[in-house]
């Protein structure tokens, strides 16, 4: 893939680092393009390994039987739903502070994938809750705050789409995302603060996980797979957004010409 970086415009004064070199969409576009296949491949490999561990290595749970195997997608999806929101809010904040176009594009690129993982966490949680709790849904602190997270993602996407000028849309949605960040610690600590139906954290940063080694391994590998997938999806969507928003620039014309 030919590189379309106009180095002349990017060369900083001698001796000074151009911190903004990779914040220009034109420079980021080929980098993301080169990275997507690698992250996608890593996701596929990790997912295969994780599923193998989850179904063929991890034993049957003495209490829940086989139902617990939903954990291998439920927990990674829930982690990713929170993590992606934080990364999205980070780029939204950077976009507000530094007024860099690419930051807002990256935030918009992350939102759909974050919403997807939030829905997956809610869906797999409901299917796990039915046999073990006896109900698809309960207005539990953890479940309710995760549902609010889903609405925050939809709100972010709706607000971005509602404003014609992309730069104004990014600023408005960035403010919205930053206000919504408070929901993430609420989700994480909801099981301790309110201690309603959802069980507490088996894996936490402070103490050793209270899980069997193979079950934990399967879950961690799947979490890494979902993480690699999220990066690949966000970079691919960011490239689409870049082409859509920079459609009138010369380097896009060159890129389109070259890809004919």
């Amino acid at each position: 893939m030919p590189r379309f970086i106009d180095v002349e415009t990017l060369r900083p004064a001698p001796g000074r680092i151009n911190w903004f070199k990779y914040s220009s969409p034109q420079t980021f576009f080929p980098l993301a393009g080169a990275a997507v296949p690698w992250f996608a491949a890593a996701a596929a490999v990790l997912c295969a390994v994780g599923l193998y561990i989850g179904f063929f290595v991890a034993p049957t749970d003495q209490q829940q039987g086989e139902a617990y195997r939903i954990i291998f997608i439920h927990v990674p999806a829930a982690w990713m739903s929170m993590f992606i929101y934080l990364v999205m809010a980070f780029w939204a904040g950077v976009g507000l502070v530094l007024n860099t176009r690419l930051s807002g594009m990256m935030a918009s690129a992350l939102a759909p994938t974050g919403a997807l993982f939030t829905f997956i966490a809610l869906w797999t949680g409901a299917l796990w809750g039915k046999p073990t709790w006896g109900t698809w849904w309960v207005w539990d602190a953890r479940l309710t705050s995760e549902l609010i997270l889903l609405f925050l993602y939809f709100g972010f996407m709706a607000l971005t789409a509602a404003i014609d000028d992309p730069r104004r849309a990014d600023r408005a949605a960035a403010l919205f995302a930053l206000v919504g960040v408070v929901n993430i610690p609420i989700i994480y600590f909801s099981v301790q603060w309110w201690n309603t139906l959802h069980q507490g954290a088996s894996v936490s940063l402070t103490r050793a996980p209270t899980m069997a080694a193979t079950m934990l391994a399967g879950m961690i590998v799947m979490a890494l797979a979902f993480w690699m997938y999220s990066i690949a999806a966000a970079f691919a969507r960011a490239r689409c957004i870049i082409l859509e928003r920079e459609r009138n620039s010369d380097w896009v014309a060159q890129y389109i010409e070259a890809s004919k």
Binding site: T113, L127, A253
Partner: protein
Amino acid sequence: MNWESLEAFIAMGGYGLYVWGSYAVTFALVALEVVLLVLRGRGIVAQLARIGAPRRRS
């Protein structure tokens, strides 16, 4: 190897509906997102190719 037979694997200890319902929807949605992304990528390139050279700004 936990499973005696394919049937046991599919039955998933009687929880087959829930486990496979979770996995099927998850991977279906992920596949859908990948397809939508590929279509969006091709769509924008095709559209820009049709439009041709960008309008000359002053």
